[in-house]
Symmetry: C2
Subunit: 191 residues, 2 copies
C-alpha cells in the first residue's frame, strides 16, 4: 500500500468506526452523516463520495468492522463449525453496537431498495453461500439426507433467528440456536 | 349497538380503510396522520384520540381489516389446515396493500418499542397461540413426536417466511410454504 492509499484506508476506517460509535450513542434514527463527518474530522463530501446514503455507510461499517466475526471456523466437524459460527452471529446480534444497529439496518432495507439489495449481496448471500458449502460437505459425507434442499436448510437455520431478533425479540441464546440446529439435523438426517 | 356507537364504529372503520388506501398510494414513509384525517373527513384529533402514533394506526388497520384472513380453517386435518392458513398469510404478505404496509410496520417496530410490543401482542402471539394449539392437537393424535418443542416448531414455520419476506425478498410461493411444512413434519415426526 502506498502512503496515500494508506491514509485513505485509515480515513475510511475512522469514518466507519465513528459511525458505529455515534450510532451506539444516539441510535441510528437520530444520527446524521454530517454528525459522523464532524466527529471523524472530515468534510461531509468525503463521506458522500464513498457512501451514497446513511444506510450504505451503516452496512459497510457493520460488515467491515466485524468481518472476522463472520468467518466460519473449520475444524473438520461440520455440525460443530455451524454451531460455533451461529453462536458467534447470535452473540453479535445480541450486543451493542452490532445488535441495535443491525436491527436499524434491516428496518432501513424495508424502505430503501438499494440498502435491501446491498444487505443481501454483501451480507446475507455470502453467509448463505458459506453455510450451504458446509452443509454440502456434510451431505457428501452422508451426514445429511441427499434429497434435502440446502437452500431450504439455510432458511430453516436463519429464519428462526431473524424471527426472534425482529419479531418476538426474545433473546438469541446459544440454547435456542442449538434447538434449531438439532431440529434441522433431525429432519435432514438420512432415512 | 346504539346509533351513536354505530356512527363511532363506522368512522373508526373509515379511518382505517383510508389508512390502507393512502398507504398503498403513497407508501407508509410519506404518509401523515393529517393526510389520513383529511381524506377520511375527520379532524386529526379524532385520529389521535384513538391511536397514539402512525404505527399504532397502521397496525390496527392491517389487523382489523384482515381479521378473517388470519383465522384458521378447521377441517379436522391439522396439516391441511396449517398449510391452507399459511398459504393465505403468504398470499396476504405478497400483495398490496397488506404486503408493503406490513413490511413498513415491521420496520417501524425496530425503532418504536410500543409498535414492537403491540405487533407481538396483537398479531404474532395470537397467531403463534393458534398455530401451537393446532400442533398440540396433531401431537395428541400421534402425528408429531411427543418431545418436540411446539414453540420451536412455530419458529421453524414462521422464521423462513419472515426471512424471505424481510431479508432475501424472494417470493413467498405456496411451493416454498409446502417445503418448509414438509421439512418440519419430517423432522418432527414420531421416531
Amino acid at each position: 500500500m502506498t502512503s496515500t492509499s494508506r491514509r485513505g484506508h485509515d480515513r475510511t476506517e475512522a469514518i466507519m468506526r465513528t459511525m458505529l460509535e455515534l450510532g451506539r450513542e444516539t441510535g441510528y434514527a437520530r444520527l446524521s452523516i454530517e454528525a459522523v463527518a464532524r466527529r471523524a474530522g472530515v468534510g461531509k463530501h468525503t463521506v458522500y463520495r464513498r457512501w451514497t446514503s446513511k444506510g450504505a455507510l451503516l452496512l459497510d461499517s457493520l460488515l467491515s468492522l466485524h468481518r472476522h466475526d463472520l468467518d466460519y471456523p473449520d475444524t473438520g466437524d461440520v455440525r460443530a463449525d455451524l454451531r460455533a459460527q451461529i453462536h458467534r452471529v447470535a452473540d453479535l446480534m445480541t450486543a451493542p453496537p452490532f445488535g441495535p444497529l443491525f436491527r436499524a439496518l434491516v428496518a432501513e432495507a424495508q424502505h430503501d431498495p438499494d440498502v435491501a439489495t446491498a444487505l443481501h449481496a454483501q451480507f446475507t448471500r455470502p453467509q448463505e453461500e458459506r453455510t450451504v458449502a458446509r452443509l454440502n460437505t456434510a451431505r457428501d459425507r452422508g451426514e445429511l439426507s441427499p434429497d434435502f434442499d440446502l437452500d431450504l436448510a439455510m432458511a430453516i437455520l436463519s429464519g428462526p433467528l431473524y424471527f426472534r431478533f425482529l419479531i418476538t425479540r426474545e433473546p438469541l441464546t446459544h440454547e435456542y440456536v442449538d434447538q434449531v440446529l438439532d431440529a434441522l439435523f433431525a429432519g435432514m438426517g438420512p432415512r
